[in-house]
């Protein structure tokens, strides 16, 4: 196939565009000076300052609490929903409703929940964010588990039912073990999405102690410092490692499945 050399220009431009801002961010995090813009020599002092910043540390803890809580809700409810939709109904409407939180603009879900919490006069806090994140995370878990279900062999489930097992027993002993990799993948996705989520958390947290993305947002609005760069560099390292590890894991899973 002929490949025009000219195509390489936009190709490489795209990658430079994607990675140059990140590279600048990381370089500036090692800045010895006070400015986030002009480099004045190497230093690790901003990383040290990070560890002593209570707001950031509390933000990390709150983010983890929300992510764990919403992942548990989303994984349990999303898995059940996926099995229910795939095995016990053919309703297109229920399908659409289960996918809706993933398609709906986050801002719309955010104001909807704010209005709803206001109406039932719920005091806002971390748990209202957990419930809110559970909504969209569940949609992603359900979607991932369903993909796995549609590829699964149903003859084992049928055999189990023919032998007299009820739906719950069949689910626990046949379906669940078959679905395990899909459930883990869905849970990881839910966890990652919750860690980074800003808009919905911003609307549903009220005056409670904020999650990390909200802390970063208010720091940026207050002014840029190399401290934010240091925090950014650490977060970049964490998510890059997670994505690459996830990639490796799915590869191993795939090659095992093929064996």
């Amino acid at each position: 196939m002929r490949r025009s050399k000219l195509l390489y220009v936009p190709f490489w431009a795209t990658y430079v565009f994607l990675y140059a801002p990140i590279a600048v961010l990381v370089v500036m995090s090692f800045n010895a000076g006070e400015s986030a813009y002009t480099y004045e020599g190497f230093s690790l002092k901003w990383y040290g300052e990070l560890a002593g910043d209570d707001r950031i540390m509390n933000g990390v803890v709150n983010t983890l609490i929300v992510a764990v809580g919403s992942t548990v809700i989303a994984t349990v409810l999303g898995t059940l929903l996926a099995v229910g939709l795939a095995r016990y109904t053919r309703s297109k409407l229920l399908d659409a409703v289960s996918l809706m939180p993933a398609v709906l603009p986050d801002l719309v879900l955010a104001i909807g929940l704010l209005v709803f919490y206001g109406m039932i006069q719920l005091t806002l806090g971390l748990y209202s964010v957990i419930l809110a994140h559970g909504v969209f995370a569940m949609a992603f878990v359900a979607a991932v588990v369903r993909t796995r279900l549609s590829g699964a062999d149903t003859s084992l489930e049928e055999a189990s039912r023919d032998l007299g097992a009820g739906p719950v027993a069949t689910f626990m002993r046949i379906t669940l073990p078959q679905l395990a990799p899909g459930i883990v993948a869905g849970a990881l996705l839910a966890f990652t999405l919750s860690l980074d989520e800003f808009v919905i958390a911003f609307f549903t947290i009220g005056n409670a102690e904020p999650t990390l993305p909200i802390v970063i947002y208010s720091m940026i609005r207050f002014g840029v410092t190399p401290k934010i760069n240091a925090l950014a560099a650490i977060l970049l390292l964490v998510s890059f490692t997670a994505v690459i590890a996830g990639q490796r894991l799915t590869k191993i899973g795939e090659s095992r499945a093929q064996d």
């Binding site: 994607l18 409810l77 229910g84 016990y88 800003f198 609307f203 840029v224 950014a232 994505v243």
Partner: protein, 279 residues
């Protein structure tokens, strides 16, 4: 236990928990937002249950309508730029050897998995007065430019944030193409450009549409990027909605703006489905 009773029990056990959650925390909230559009605002936020058409009258007030139209423009420009950058990139990735293909794709999505606020912040560092771009211009003797806090900065941030969502569906569509089609076209004497225009592009229209929708939707409703990169001058619908809910405390009007947002997106979804079916 009889088979049909088992099925009904199964449907109940598996569907009830998730659907209840979705009804309470998704459908009821959306219905509330929808209903607020016809009521009056409360004095300290909330709503007074007296009917009014005032919210919709305000929506078509040029003051607000211009913001909606401006947001449509920004989202459209973002989508076109992402398409122009994303198509050649996806096209080349689709033709790489298998190993490089995976690496190139992971490299496209990798930034997408890092914190959204951090990615926007990177552009403040790049574009601000003493930032890197201006330092680079200084080397060539060019006076520093006002790069931040305008619509150009918003578009840069939006393209940066959502480009992976354009490249992935384009890649999927291009990779599915049978290379023999292009070879046949070339053998019949068509130039590279003609083959692209008459064979490749028409066959990848569904990918173009999906990618465009994926970029347009989050761009149109965005409030974080215009707020951090656009400064106080440039407002988008998202900023208006945020203002109405968190500072102006006019929830009914905020709900009406949100309804306008959803309406635009629904029209686009329907149009996309219609074109995709005909393509």
């Amino acid at each position: 236990m009889s088979r049909s009773r088992g099925r009904r029990l199964g449907a109940f056990v598996f569907l009830t928990p998730g659907l209840t959650y979705l009804v309470v925390l998704l459908l009821v909230p959306l219905a509330l937002v929808l209903s607020y559009t016809v009521f009056q605002r409360g004095r300290f936020g909330g709503v007074v249950y007296e009917f009014t058409a005032e919210n919709f009258e305000r929506l078509v007030d040029p003051l607000y309508l211009d913001v909606v139209i401006g947001s449509l423009k920004i989202a459209a420009v973002t989508t076109v730029i992402a398409l122009l950058a994303g198509y050649p990139t996806a096209y080349l990735i689709a033709q790489l050897p298998r190993k490089w293909k995976t690496i190139a794709l992971v490299a496209i999505v990798l930034p997408f998995w890092t914190n959204f606020i951090i990615r926007v912040y990177a552009w403040i560092i790049l574009l601000s007065g003493p930032g890197l771009v201006n330092s680079g211009l200084k080397v060539f003797g060019i006076e520093p430019l006002e790069l931040l806090y305008n619509e150009g900065a918003i578009v840069a941030g939006l393209v940066y944030s959502y480009l992976p969502l354009m490249v992935l569906p384009l890649f999927a569509a291009i990779e599915k193409l049978d290379p023999q089609l292009r070879e046949a076209s070339a053998n019949l004497g068509a130039s590279g450009l003609t083959t692209f225009r008459k064979v490749t592009l028409p066959l990848t229209v569904p990918g173009v549409l999906t990618g465009s929708l994926f970029v347009f939707v989050p761009s149109f409703g965005n409030f974080v990027i215009p707020e951090l990169l656009g400064g106080s001058k440039s407002l988008m619908v998202g900023n208006l909605i945020r203002q109405q809910f968190l500072s102006a405390r006019d929830w009914p009007f905020g709900s009406t703006l949100a309804l306008a947002l959803i309406a635009v997106l629904l029209v686009l979804l329907v149009a996309q489905a219609w074109v995709a079916r005909r393509a």
